[in-house]
Amino acid sequence: MSKVRVLVGTHKGAFVLTSDGKRENWEVSGPHFAGWEVYHLKGSPADPNRIYCAPSTGWHGQVIQRSDDGGKTWEPVGNKFAYEGTPGTHQWYDGTPHPWEFKRVWHLEPSLTDPDKIYAGAEDAALFESTDGGKNWAEFPSLREHDTAKGWQPGAGGLCLHTIVLDPTDPQRIFIAISAAGAFRTDDGGRSWKPINRGLHSQYIPDATAEVGHCVHHIAMSAQRPGVLFMQKHWDVMRSDDAGDNWREVSGNLPTDFGFAIDVHAHEPETIYVVPIKSDSEHFPLDGQLRVYRSRTGGNEWEPLTKGLPQSNCFVNVLRDAMAVDTMDDCGIYFGTTGGQVYASINAGDTWAPIVRDLPAVLSVEVQTIA
């Protein structure tokens, strides 16, 4: 029988939640790396026992931990993330040039086919790759050296490369997103990068339709239709049908189109999920009601999903990497909150129940469906 493993990164450690395919009873293991901030951990699609994790602290910086037994035991691997050559500068918040400095890893994306290969998205924005199971890391400097990079400015959370999406049909194609530079795509395995922000409209930058400068919060893609991308921008939910070359807004009837998380149903590529957040200055749900919104039409027409979610006095946030789906026949949807709850739906969002309620603030949620 299939098994589901939910990997939860929190403000004070990592947790591994495990259930059988019914997804009713959950075993909770953790905290792993207690006291460390775990922005992200993710399993290898090629070997589900291999999990990579990115704990960091302000005192000791970044370490990378690897498990080869499904999260039971961990070994530290390489933590040297060095920018290639002389890093140069990007813009600081006050508009002055600021040297590129490594701060932390925001996102780990294991290869779809090779358990030893993994990508890391870093702050200050850069993409790194390891081909030896995380022991050594090398940067793709062409992204940081892009013609537009001198003008990139950090978002409120820093100049972070937080989203990495791999195309299952083309190993040379990678999508990434940076706050607050925007989305980029490589079609040659990382040797060159193209901004893919046409159609985005951001009123908080001088030229609302500029080539870069957009605060993209997250991008999701259905493995079944790799050319179709969905984006939660700072404000606006967007869709692209041509691998990011052009975007159009699909916020439709959402009560607010600010938010962080977005994901796609595992088997229905037109079914997407967001968690609307009140505004950029009030990072909690509207009216204290935690509602996931689902569109079965690829955007524009949205329905609130509320059963099992708190509908009063709820003022948590759901961060960009804190939503994931499993690939069971009845697709499971999972998300974590800054209040420490991890909610699961085993019926595509119709009803929800908490797996755990009192973890530290949840920074990321990933799911492994294990045959």
Partner: protein, 94 residues
Amino acid sequence: MLPAHLRTLARVGAEVALEVPLPVTIASTLDALEARYPVLCGTIRDHDTLRRRPFIRYFACEEDLSHQPTDTPLPAAIVTAREPLIVLGAIAGG
């Protein structure tokens, strides 16, 4: 002496005894520490510049040595292991 997070990371107790070639300095002590426990590289000082991480402090014999040049010889009590060199995670927060 190591802070709690680094004891866990290196799987050691609170104190680590090291053979350090003369002259014994903060730099040579940390070189010996990282050689024995490579997992600590980058967690106390920068990988390349070897500059102390901002929230790390070095205490010894009731003195804060954090701002001394790291090639300054350490007090005799440290060299003879009568007193520990303390690597401390500074108080951060409110």
